[in-house]
């Protein structure tokens, strides 16, 4: 029997008992629908994260934190006082927050590491208010300048290194009574901040950009330029008596030739009980979590498929039983056992193909429509710029289809072997 005839006959046989085939296919569809949706979800969110990474564009920066581990050796009873350790584990997160902070001496040590071209300790400032040109004041929190790379802009540009510059989120346009983001570019605002003695002072800053809120949260609060941030920090430290022991949560380190020297710098940092992470490392961790979640969800899809495969076994076993005489006739007329096996496995494959194609199409439809509805204009997640929840990954789709067809084939082998083993004489005598 020719392969094309095997395929055609299998297809014909599949549609002989339509309801039974349909019910078996439905089970497969559920599995394939779930897999398509979960893999598309993973691909979509990862794609979004990738676009965010692309915004950072081959960054040569590394974010350095203290691991704080060596300073916090577990002791029985109270530990002896050590001024250095106290300073590095205290800081703004307070003792017991686990992670340490960076001290000025840490910063110096980082500067000594080979291939490090500059170190920029990150300082959080908390201003009291922002004042518009017409004198109205609003409460404000500032983002850190190191996040400027991840800013998604609706208008203007990101605040730079120098100059007293500031970006504001899109929904702050209301304080200027406008909806046009371009109009607020170039406006000057005043920012007020209190120093340690409670005295308030103000600085002027120019609005250079309007940001959209990204999924990471960047762009949801105003972001200062480095110089503005530095100025605000100095204002807030005014009046501090005694030697200021600076503590930083993080430092941004510029690394020369980061591709080649990344590991060397990281190793050197570990020797100092510091942890260096590149942008890719941080994004990678996020993608790892997304992948894990989508794999767990796909696991449910696989369970559905497993159940469905028993449906195939059941359907085909019934079919083999019903068609005993037909099988006997085919064997008597000279069909080899191998071809009989091939014919019945092919029927399983046809069911698998039907189920996977319908499921994939439904899954893609649901995913794309759901994505358009959730992240589109006016959708519940519409405010998050550039967000995609569902992406079509042709490789994953092909993989899912192949997997389901393979599972269907495996399920078909048992009934097919039954059919192939039938003795033509017994089968023809069968009533």
């Amino acid at each position: 029997m020719r392969s094309v005839d095997v395929a055609r006959t299998a297809l014909g046989n599949t549609f002989r008992s339509k309801l039974r085939t349909a019910l078996t296919v439905v089970a497969i569809v559920i599995g394939s629908f779930t897999l398509t949706l979960t893999s598309g979800l993973g691909a979509g969110v990862n794609k979004y994260v990738d676009t965010v990474v692309a915004g950072f564009g081959g960054s040569s920066q590394m974010f350095v934190m203290s691991t704080g581990a060596s300073d916090a050796e577990p002791t029985d009873g109270p530990a002896e006082y050590d001024p250095e350790a106290a300073a590095s584990t205290g800081g703004m997160f307070g003792p017991g927050s686990g992670g340490g902070v960076l001290t000025d001496s840490d910063i110096e040590e980082i500067e000594q590491i080979e291939n490090v071209s500059s170190v920029d300790p990150m300082v959080f400032v908390s201003p009291d208010f922002i004042e518009t040109p017409d004198g109205e004041r609003y409460d404000m929190e500032l983002d850190v300048p190191a996040n400027a790379l991840g800013l998604e802009l609706a208008a203007g540009e990101a605040p730079g290194e120098d100059g007293m510059e500031l970006s504001i989120p899109e929904d702050w346009l209301t304080i200027f009574d406008t909806e046009d983001a371009e109009q607020v570019i170039g406006e000057t605002v005043e920012i007020g901040i209190s120093n340690v003695t409670g005295e308030q002072s103000t600085v002027e800053a120019e609005i250079v950009g309007v940001s959209e809120e990204a999924l990471s949260g960047i762009g949801a609060t105003p972001m200062p330029s480095r110089e503005l941030n530095q100025q605000l920090n100095e204002l807030s430290m005014e009046g501090y008596e005694g030697q200021a022991q600076n503590a930083y949560t993080m430092a941004v380190v510029d690394v020369e030739n980061i591709e080649a020297s990344e590991q060397g710098v990281k190793d050197a940092l570990i020797d100092q009980d510091l942890l260096g992470l590149t942008v890719e490392d941080q994004i990678g961790a996020v993608q790892g979590v997304i992948d894990a979640v989508s794999w767990v969800l796909s696991g449910f899809g696989l369970i559905a498929l497993l159940a469905a495969s028993f449906g195939i076994v059941n359907t085909l076993l019934m079919s083999v039983q019903e068609r005993t005489r037909e099988i006997g006739l085919m064997k008597a007329l000279g069909m080899s056992s191998g071809k009989v096996f091939g014919l019945f496995s092919m029927e399983a494959v046809v069911i698998g193909i039907l189920g996977s194609v319908i499921g994939v199409v439904l899954g893609l439809g649901a995913g794309l429509v759901g994505n358009a509805w959730l992240t589109g204009e006016g959708g519940p997640l519409g405010a998050v710029a550039g967000l995609t929840l569902f992406a079509v990954d042709p490789l994953a789709i092909a993989g899912i289809t192949a997997l389901i067809v393979f599972i269907a084939f495996l399920a078909g082998t048992l009934p097919a072997a039954r059919a192939a083993k039938k003795d033509p004489i017994e089968a023809l005598r069968y009533e």
């Binding site: 005839d5 008597a332 000279g334 023809l428």
Partner: protein, 235 residues
């Protein structure tokens, strides 16, 4: 005489063992020559069906040899045996075994499909055979809509479509009324007479057996008598 198309030597078939042992065939040796018409006659349980299954290569003997065209078949691989059956034999069954969901044409071209012939060639050969049996107008009908006689004619068409050298007919008229039986018998013996097909008929119907050139009378797994001459052919 011509070379025997089928021959057997000391053919033994035993079912079961111990207390349930049943000797279906007790050492048969005979020959069937090309162009002969042979009836294997006997009551049920005489071993005639078992013998036909062995001759038709559907079953393997417990001991002894079946040779096709002078070549012993026992040593051949199952795949080769299947192919031999497909090439050289045609089967007519008492219960027809037509697939009710398929058309007559699809049913009768099944052996060609199994042989791996292309669809258009299959259909051409199928129509030829149907015309030969005056069934061409039923080609597109579903097999389930045929009368008993038409079903058996379709069954014969299926047996002829691969141009076999030997036609096996297992109680070909067992399910048919007298008139229809006559027609089917005429077709079978016409094929034998006009096309030189070797005909092996298994039956308990004495009238049908009488039309064959040779009759092997079976009883308890042995050939008790062998008759020659078509005694019962009414002109």
């Amino acid at each position: 005489m011509s070379t025997p198309v089928l021959e057997t030597e000391n053919l033994v078939k035993v079912y079961g063992k111990g207390a349930t042992r049943f000797d279906a065939l007790k050492g048969l040796t005979f020959e069937i020559h090309e162009g002969e018409s042979v009836a294997i006659v006997g009551k049920s349980g005489s071993g005639k069906s078992t013998l036909m299954h062995l001759l038709a290569l559907l079953d393997e003997p417990t001991s002894g040899v079946v040779a096709l065209g002078g070549e012993p078949v026992t040593a051949l691989k199952p795949k080769k045996v299947s192919q031999l059956r497909n090439d050289t034999f045609g089967f007519v069954f008492q219960q027809f075994f037509l697939n009710p969901n398929q058309t007559v044409l699809e049913n009768i071209t099944l052996p060609l499909k199994i042989a791996g012939m292309g669809k258009s060639e299959r259909n051409r050969r199928g129509m030829e055979v149907l015309e030969q049996l005056d069934m061409a107008d039923k080609a597109k009908n579903k097999a389930t809509n045929l009368s008993g006689g038409q079903k058996q004619r379709a069954c014969i068409a299926r047996a002829l479509v691969n141009k076999p050298t030997v036609l096996f007919a297992d109680e070909p008229t067992g399910n048919l009324d007298t008139v229809t039986s006559e027609i089917v018998e005429d077709i079978l013996f016409g094929l034998h007479r006009d096309h030189g097909i070797t005909l092996v008929v298994v039956t308990h119907d004495e009238d049908l057996a009488a039309k064959c050139q040779r009759r092997l009378m079976m009883q308890d797994g042995e050939i008790v008598t062998e008759e020659h001459g078509a005694t019962g052919v009414h002109a």
